[in-house]
């Protein structure tokens, strides 16, 4: 394998990594507010892509309007998930909450398959298909969209958490919920915000990803699990760790698939994850302890 090939694999890996990073960001948002690992996060990604594709083909909407609709629709689903299933079980154990969110993800996927069928659906690239050459490797404009979006979303999140009242209140809840409540922060509203934001971020990931891989009702599970890998790699609840974890995972996966075997591509992320956990049991930016059973 030549250096150019490694570079090429790394670049395409970064693109997937950007998606994983966005999904990990969604995990962190919900985890910080509730301590819940939301296994339905991957379905938000699927919904983002599917709603966009469906709205464009069914109603001939322009891409931007379809995308906006997708983000709005997915956000509503996220809020509904919180209301209907998470909130009534707030005090349940980790395992019970895992089952609830897995149930939610199965449910969402089922509804999607009934509405949209099993076909793969295309979404057009945002700005053309002609590849751009970067130091000898080719990258599609859509990949740049993915990386740009990751960056913009990350910065936007940072702005929200650092500079808005809502963001600060959400951070306060994550650090110490009872104290934040004493200071007048309404916990349940913060949880709604976190689910809404997580769903929106997931949908955005799905929309920018769709032109690269096509979209289908069943893509959510694996994407969600790998995004979860990224979040754990970076240290659960650590947003920056999650972004780095996502990018790293994408690159390692692409290199592994290229160097070793593309058949085992889906296993690579988990091999990386287990290896990292064995060396540092709470991810590379995480704190000790990952919640009690």
């Amino acid at each position: 394998m030549t250096a150019v090939q490694v570079w090429q694999f790394s670049l395409s890996g970064l693109t997937t990594g950007g998606i994983y990073a966005l999904i990990a960001l969604g995990f962190s948002l919900v985890y910080n507010a509730t301590g819940v690992i939301n296994f339905a996060q991957g379905e938000f990604v699927m919904l983002g892509g599917m709603i966009t594709a469906a709205a464009m083909s069914a109603w001939n909407l322009p891409l931007w309007l379809a995308a906006l609709l997708a983000v709005a629709g997915t956000t509503v689903v996220g809020l509904a998930l919180d209301r209907a299933a998470i909130r009534p079980a707030r005090r349940a154990s980790i395992v019970v909450l895992i089952i609830i969110t897995v149930g939610a993800s199965i449910f969402i996927r089922g509804v999607a398959s009934v509405i949209w069928g099993p076909e793969e659906r295309p979404v057009p690239a945002f700005s053309g298909e002609s590849p751009i050459s970067v130091f000898g490797a080719a990258i599609t404009p859509q990949s740049l969209w993915v990386l740009g979006t990751t960056l913009v979303v990350a910065v936007a999140m940072w702005m929200i958490f650092e500079h808005t009242v809502i963001g600060k209140a959400m951070r306060a809840c994550a650090i110490n919920a009872p104290a934040a409540q004493l200071c007048g922060v309404e916990l349940s509203r913060m949880i709604s915000w976190s689910f809404g934001l997580a769903a929106a971020v997931g949908a955005i990931a799905g929309i920018v990803l769709a032109p690269i891989t096509m979209t289908q009702y069943s893509i959510g599970t694996m994407l969600g699990l790998k995004g979860f890998c990224a979040a754990i790699l970076g240290g659960l609840g650590n947003s920056i760790g999650g972004i780095i974890g996502g990018l790293l995972l994408g690159v390692l996966e692409a290199l592994g698939a290229g160097l070793i075997s593309s058949q085992y591509k889906d296993a690579i992320a988990f091999v990386v994850l287990i290896t990292v956990l064995l060396i540092k049991p709470s991810g590379f930016l995480g704190e000790e302890g990952g919640g009690e059973l």
């Binding site: 609830i100 149930g103 089922g110 509804v111 699990l225 988990f270 919640g291």
Partner: protein
């Protein structure tokens, strides 16, 4: 406690006698098949219950060990012509060895990190089953698995009653071993580390070693269930029954039944198997209903059916007591 133990023994005897009499009532082949599946799931859930309910360690990848057990005995018999019984033994050894290798380092992890590591193991195994086509047959499946012969009888899945008794015989044996184990020195050590690892250690319990042992035993149970599955169903194995969703289904059986109780796995295995079977004909809508049911059951009964029934009984008793109290006044 001795009394409770005796009561448990009587319950076990009554239950398995009742199961043994079932084929006299249930003559429909399809129903017998479902009951056989319940038996398989009971073995799986009982093993996982030891790990989760007693040792307090979560596993989101338990279907991996079921898969390894099934494929190991499937490959050894179909490809290499081994005797199924020998293959079953070899499968247990292989599965236990894998579990030991995986468990030794990962069981140091806590909470979500352990959940994620076990989930990872589950996915790695299911990817390997799918992709290692030369060995496993890949997505097309592994064909021509021979049936098991027991004392000169060929146990064939199309002879439903035979396989029903065979699977439930194993279920009975493994349940008895399980109930012996949890009411003993090592069983108490496991329950102790579940409640307080710190205190268990200061009483001399090597908690790390006990967790690994519980993990290995639960994997061995899964391996036995895997072998039984491999030799029953159409003599054919495909990767799907051993994926992430099977791991979740097993998790649900244990949690829904009631973790750390003797009867939890029975309740959980029966409930989930029946739900899956009832929904099966409604293609496309089945997973919608399944997802909804998972959410609903966990929201309503986070402590499991056994505990929910218990508190329902308490509530009724209280109401009756209040009624009679009012009448007295």
């Amino acid at each position: 406690m001795a009394r409770r133990r005796r009561a448990e023994k009587i319950q076990l005897v009554l239950f398995f006698t009742a199961v043994a009499l079932l084929p006299l009532v249930v003559r429909n082949a399809y129903y017998l098949h479902i009951l056989t599946v319940v038996g398989l799931n009971l073995i799986l859930a009982t093993g996982l219950n030891l790990l989760m309910g007693y040792a307090g360690q979560v596993s989101l990848g338990h279907a991996a060990f079921y898969g390894i057990g099934a494929y190991a005995s499937g490959i050894l018999t179909a490809t290499y012509g081994w005797n199924p019984w020998l293959a079953m033994l070899a499968a247990i050894v292989i599965t236990s060895a894998v579990a030991w290798l995986v468990g030794k380092p990962t069981l140091h992890l806590k909470g979500h990190y352990l959940a994620m590591a076990t989930l990872g193991v589950g996915i790695i195994v299911s990817v390997v089953i799918r992709q290692w086509s030369e060995m496993t047959g890949g997505p097309q499946g592994l064909m021509n698995i021979p049936s098991i012969t027991l004392a000169g009888w060929e146990l064939r899945s199309d002879m439903d009653v035979h396989y029903f008794y065979f699977v439930w015989g194993w279920g009975c044996l493994l349940s008895v071993l399980f109930s012996n184990l949890v009411a003993s020195r090592p069983g108490r050590a496991l329950r102790a580390l579940h409640d307080s690892e710190l205190a268990a250690e200061t009483l001399g319990v090597d908690t790390a070693a006990f967790k690994v042992r519980a993990f290995v035993i639960s994997a061995a149970y899964a391996s036995i269930a895997g072998t039984l599955y491999a030799h029953s169903s159409m003599r054919f194995l495909s990767p799907t029954p051993f994926d992430f969703h099977k791991s979740i289904a097993l998790l649900v059986m244990v949690v829904l039944g009631g973790q750390g109780t003797l009867w939890g796995p029975v309740l959980g295995a029966a409930t989930i198997t029946f739900i899956e079977e009832v929904l099966r004909p409604y293609a496309d809508y089945d997973i919608i209903a399944y997802g909804l049911l998972l959410m609903f059951m966990m929201v309503v009964m986070p402590g499991g059916v056994a505990r929910a029934l218990g508190s329902l009984a308490d509530w009724l008793r209280e109401r009756i007591a209040r009624r009679s109290g009012e009448r007295d006044e």
